[in-house]
Symmetry: C2
Subunit: 349 residues, 2 copies
């Protein structure tokens, strides 16, 4: 009988952040692909698009006019999934199967810059720092609203990721409840902290830095790595090295370092298949209900779907939906590939 080889044999890995497993099938990377190909958008976008409802000065979907903004620009989502309006709710006695509770919140759109054509990897560092400061401001302001207990900052990049407008932008959904995934993470961080009196993600980061097998980029204040339990082919996570529970704790040096690692990581992503690399990214950090959260550690997830080329993505379907997440290429392999990519954007070669 052969000995287990993590680089070759099917295995499961455990994600201690959400207490779930992922099935890893390294040998399967070789299977041919005859399935759906994604459309590749190769047209260069203009700096300004008169028909874009996010460009400065243009009219939005709801009829309002955007200001002639010059850095980042935030407005309330015209089609928000949550609303500010308070709702009277008297819980009726119902069988456990029909549990429904109103949810209050605020949803915003963050245009990264006036430029219709500049995604994160192509922006300059001061521009990215402006976005980070905008996130800080929004986290503070939204977080201080009495009924807001969680602020979810995220970006859907690319039409493959359901992004409905190519003008580079992110979103913020702030709400009363801890969303499901955040609650899972919260529970894991808390359980680890209670047991070990230390921080799960900082302890994990220490081990990863020692092993140096999954580190993609490191600077003075941040590390970008492929988590041991990554689900998506080129999934990464940015973690701050210092114990930081929320984005507002960053020093201005850390803001710069964060901007720099964001740019460096997204440049590598674009370089991977020489395409504007699609992903969903999002920041996980402490809730905003006013409590202390020493178990929290600021981190940002990147979930990119592409697998083999600019047009072939990984589908999380059938088995993955019914059973569990499954990946073909090992996290170590993905990290090595990303690490080896040049630090200069392919368009500037």
């Amino acid at each position: 009988m052969r000995n287990f080889d993590i680089n070759e044999d099917p295995h499961r890995r455990f994600n201690p952040l959400i207490n779930e497993w992922v099935l890893v099938s390294p040998h399967r990377a070789k299977r041919p692909w005859q399935g759906q190909n994604e459309k590749i958008h190769t047209d260069e976008l203009p700096e300004y698009d008169a028909t874009c409802y996010l460009c400065p000065g243009n009219v939005r979907a709801n009829g309002e006019n955007n200001p002639k903004y010059e850095s980042s620009f935030v407005f309330e989502n015209d089609f928000a999934a949550v609303k500010q309006e308070p709702i009277l709710f008297e819980e009726e006695l119902k069988p456990t199967f029909f549990k429904a509770v109103p949810e209050r919140g605020i949803a915003k759109v963050v245009c990264f810059s006036p430029r219709h054509d500049l995604t994160l990897p192509e922006m300059d560092l001061p521009g990215i720092e402006t976005i980070i400061r905008t996130w800080q401001k929004e986290y503070t302001e939204l977080g201080s609203v009495d009924y807001i207990n969680h602020v979810q900052i995220f970006e859907n990049k690319g039409s493959v990721m359901g992004c409905s407008n190519p003008h580079p932008h992110g979103q913020i959904w702030a709400q009363s409840s801890l969303p499901t995934q955040v609650e899972k993470t919260q529970n894991s961080l808390k359980a680890y902290f209670d047991k070990n009196q230390s921080n799960l993600l900082l302890d994990y980061l220490k081990e990863e830095l020692k092993l140096n097998e999954r580190i993609v980029i490191e600077n003075e204040h941040f590390v970008a790595l492929v988590p041991f339990w990554a689900i998506w082919p080129f999934e990464t996570m940015i973690i701050s090295k210092r114990h930081i529970t929320k984005i507002t704790e960053f020093t201005s040096e850390e803001v710069s370092a964060y901007a720099s690692i964001l740019k460096a990581l997204t440049i590598k992503y674009d370089n991977l298949f020489e395409t504007s690399f699609p992903y969903s990214s999002g920041i996980h950090q402490a809730p905003t209900d006013g409590e202390e959260y020493p178990e929290w550690q600021f981190h940002m997830h990147f979930y990119p779907p592409l697998l083999r080329s600019a047009s072939v993505k990984k589908f999380m379907v059938g088995y993955e939906m019914m059973g569990e997440a499954q990946r073909d290429i090992t996290p170590e392999k993905s990290a090595a590939v990303l690490k080896a990519l040049p630090g200069v954007h392919y368009k500037n070669k």
Copy 2:
């Protein structure tokens, strides 16, 4: 302050099967869509395709020849995610962050019929019964392998769902461990059973039949409904009315009734947008480790991505990945739409 109106106001619903919440935003159904459009395949497929590696008599990807099969046909996946080979594994003492365990299993492909052009809704009832009997046989045979404790039967239909070959087929991944999603369901069913000495899904079904708000189709032995906590726009679940823990317990009358509800439901799906409706479906039933599972109840999930038309799907991205599943149309609305659709396939109108 207005009173909570579940048909109009943003709210969260609880899924007792997996202990997770979903965010429902009924008002958001009105938002315009400028995002990605899916390709619609309107070409009629031939009955037989000489280039298809699943058609009878053809050569497969691994060089083997398919037999000239005449009903359903099962073979081992040429690019299996799990393998039968036993692997020697000595757990090393590692920090909790690097938990990896080899996983053993068998992966199969089930061609529904020799016909390259007939999906479930277009097959005749005897043909669908043959598939069900094939599933029974595979569940028994795979389940009796000593190291197989779970048998996941599923189908990815349509290229939108990552299906790599249009010849109608499903898959079976059988393995040693309970996959993550099944383990969650198992835990919920067990906890409910231990507390109430009754079956969660049967008790739920009783309430749904009383309310009759989310029932799409009902026959003597099965019900197809939109779960109260459905995530996908037109998600449904087929539940057997009798207490049945696994597919092998079906009487032959139940096999017929199951074939009939499968056909009826998938016809409604095709009729919804007059297209071959993409989905991932999968059967959840008792594990095959030889234990008794009175808490289990046979059910089948359908997770279809389409939202507004044959080309506009729901994206489970950014907020959904970082936070929690979110839907725009209420399950009650979806059930009413599906229920009202004709029972005859649009191609036969």
